[in-house]
Amino acid sequence: MTQSTQDQLQTHPAAEMYAREYKDGHLDRREFLVRATALGVSAAAAYSMIGMSPANAAGHRQTPPMGGTLRIQQEVRVGKDPRTYDWSQMGNLGRGITEYLVEYNRDGSFSGILLESWEANEDATQYTLNVRQGIMFNNGDEFTAEDVAANIRGWCDATVEGNSMSTRMGILVDADTQQAIEGAIEVVDSHTVRLNLPSPDITIIPGIADYPAAIQHRDYIGQDPLEHGVGTGAYRLAAHEVGVQAVLEKNPDHEYWGEAYLDRIEFVDLGQDPAAWMAGAESGELDMTYETTGDFVDLFTSIGFEVSEVTTAATVVIRPNQNNPPYDNRMVRQALLKAVDNQVLLDLGMAGRGEMARDYHVSPIHPEWADVPAIEVDKDAAYALLEEAGEADHVFEVISIDDGYRRDTTDAYASQLRDAGFNVERTVIPGSTFWNDWTNYPLSSTNWNHRELGVMILNLAYRTGVPWNEAAFSNEEFDSLLDQANGIQDADERREVMRRLEEIMQEEGVATIPYWRSLYRHYRPGVINAEMHPKFEINPHYLGIEA
């Protein structure tokens, strides 16, 4: 893929400050790249600011040979309006047809796809998006700033059922009209769009790099790209049978602006059971997995597949729902946290594949992570708290999905509660029905994917009244501090606010957040650019296979 970076920013005052922080050891490379590139500095420039050359850096892609067919084990779901995508698998399949403005790379940096570059002003209230020139849709129309503006307006439309982009665009949405704020999206010329934010927001760029942000033709907003087939990507849909398979093939009627290597990509759906994927791999029915979990990491390696690992902020959250007594009692929630040793959950649930977390949903790889120590495990104190709360007789029903690490981790959680003297009942619900009621179970585990910034996940899952607030957590101080953090660009300053946010999560006993997962993917030797991505992304345009 040829990616012109010359028009992107070479530097930015805040980015230089980050570079100093990096050199002083306050930031690691990944954090630095996330923040510098989110401000519009090109990845190459960002690397050079800290004295590295991108050619030596992780995440550099090879150029595969042309041609070939690749078979990827991945769930095949129905197509729908990209804004309402709720699975990264949908994004992966759609990505061959509809591309994205910006892409989040494995190493934590952002680079432009349909955007040539972008810049933020100093206080992150104004973003200028420079649209790449010379891109055509496969229906013959040119891709312009009008398309970008139309998509962003569509993302801001909160009246659409299940539109998850409206939360990501949060600040641009008018609370009364449920649409984009008047004048917020400005088309400057045919290839420039300016976003005028009412208040600073540092999550816009990560937001538009996420899988529901697929760019549609301006006339097709709200429709399913798998059906209308219009997009800028090099591929078209050749077959799509839900639960069985989907096939992308190179679109011969479309001149793609970049490079695409494979002729054909088959997404093979072998169901939810990793044992079935293993059987498929042994039968030669797939070249690459979407994700490999648990014991199957070693098993796939043992049959000669190559492993690719990436560390993330993905986790399992075991949370009481505070709308259900006795979890409205803070002492009960704290007892739950005190009774559970996160290291045991990591060892038994993930076979140690990851890093221990401390019951707040901000990971050390997030730029604004503050080093708040873990809650001390004390089973006797936990039971004493429970007795004090008068809930020693309560039967704790611990619910999880019936699948791999989520089940194992929750099992370990339940048995630790039992060890501490709690009455525990364990319920396992099949994957097909688990998600029907996931925000309302009294005490259950949920897997959460990686997000680029710590504030993003807090906004999505712990702010009062947001749809994904499965803990039914509501805390005024937390909400107002979070608002404050959303506007602080400087990570050190934000870290001070974040410290308090993390402490509140621990004090309030919001959830057991035991570990940060490492993610794995396997592929046959000879498959190129298929490395695991922290957000499970697969970009069909990069993939290749050795002849």
């Binding site: 839900v242 042994e282 030669g284």
Partner: protein, 361 residues
């Protein structure tokens, strides 16, 4: 005879009607509809959004009316949204309420729309049935001859060593459910780390990693000995023991009959007694059992197809049930009723031909 078949068809219709209504009722219970909304809309929708979603798609109206719509005796619902887009049960993409038909149900030949597959039910069921048809055909052609041979050999001389050995084998095979035998077969024959395959591969006697394939996905396009043996064997083994037991019992009974003794006294060879005199009479009972095995196999394929990732009828049933795909489930029920009652009809008619003493009245 004509009247008999007509009456049977009537029963079939009535059964299908009852069964589909029960399935319709169960799939339209509140929590199931909520599940449908969440799998189809967004699995993290709020309650208000769920109600809105169901309302927009006509799921909130009375059950009987909607069942009538599905049957095609009540007019399909229509709705004009605030922005003027027209939707309705019979309004396909690109149609308006004006141009769409009023009725679109089973009576009009429209099986409905599968929500999980985002496709017409008729387009799905046909292909999947054909896949299962192949699986069952091959399983049958392995199972029936093997079972009959085992049963006859065992039943020729009751209590002999052959009888005891074959009886043990058939009891063991029929006592092993598909989900046990299937897993054992995979471990023994289709794993590159356990069973026979690593040893065979080490000696260079097989080309791939495993002897047989533990996943039959490739058989959907091209059936080979290597990708289809395990599912066929798994299904066949279970039914085989049962049919063999029936055949043995029937054969043993015939062998004690007066006319067989007479034939022996007259000096007819044992071989001729078995082949010319005993066999036809001994096959009457197994014939019924074999026909009744067909609907029984339908439940077997549910397990085997899921285990071996063969996307046929049984697999579709599992998918439809776990996603609460109402109209797909209804069509599957109809197919199941037809299969069960047709095989029974055939077995009744066949019985008449095999046994002249029986008359259909």
């Amino acid at each position: 005879m004509g009247l008999f078949i007509l009456r049977r068809l009537g029963v079939m219709l009535l059964t299908a009607l009852c069964l589909t209504f029960i399935v319709f009722f169960l799939t339209n219970l509140g929590p199931n509809l909520e599940k449908l909304a969440k799998t189809q809309g967004n699995n993290r929708m709020s309650d208000a959004e769920v109600v809105q979603w169901l309302e927009n798609r006509g799921y909130t109206r009375p059950l009987v009316v909607r069942y009538g719509e599905w049957l095609g005796v009540a007019p399909g619902w229509t709705r004009v949204a605030a922005d003027g887009t027209e939707t309705g049960r019979c309004v396909d993409r690109g149609m308006t309420i004006e141009t769409a038909p009023t009725f679109c149900g089973v009576l009009q030949g429209d099986l409905g729309f599968s929500t999980v597959s985002d496709n017409e039910v008729s387009a799905i069921v046909g292909g999947r049935l054909a896949l299962t048809g192949w699986l069952m055909l091959i399983a049958f052609s392995v199972m029936v001859p093997a079972a009959l041979i085992i049963g006859i050999l065992a039943g020729m001389k009751e209590g002999s060593r052959t009888d005891r050995t074959l009886s043990t084998i058939s009891i063991a095979s029929t006592a092993t459910p598909e989900y046990v035998s299937g897993v054992i077969f995979i471990i023994l024959l289709a794993s590159s780390t356990a069973g026979l395959s690593p040893w065979l591969a080490e000696n260079g006697w097989i080309e791939g990693r495993t002897l047989f394939l533990g996943s039959s996905r490739s058989a959907m396009e091209d059936i080979t000995f290597w990708n289809f043996t395990l599912p066929v064997l798994t299904i066949a083994l279970y039914g085989m023991g049962y049919i063999a037991r029936m055949t043995r019992a029937s054969m043993a009974e015939v062998m004690t009959a007066q006319y067989i003794r007479t034939a022996r006294l007259k000096g007819v060879s044992f071989r001729n007694i078995v082949l010319k005199h005993a066999l036809r009479n001994a096959l009457i009972a197994p014939f019924t059992v074999i026909m009744l095995q067909i609907p029984w196999l339908l439940t077997g394929v549910v397990i085997v197809e899921t285990l071996f990732n063969y996307n046929g009828f049984g697999w579709t049933l599992v998918q439809a049930a776990s996603n609460n795909d109402i109209e797909l489930l209804l069509s599957i029920s109809i197919v199941a009723v037809i299969v069960v009652l047709t095989t029974q009809l055939i077995s009744d008619i066949g019985y008449v031909y095999l046994n002249p003493r029986i008359r259909i009245s």
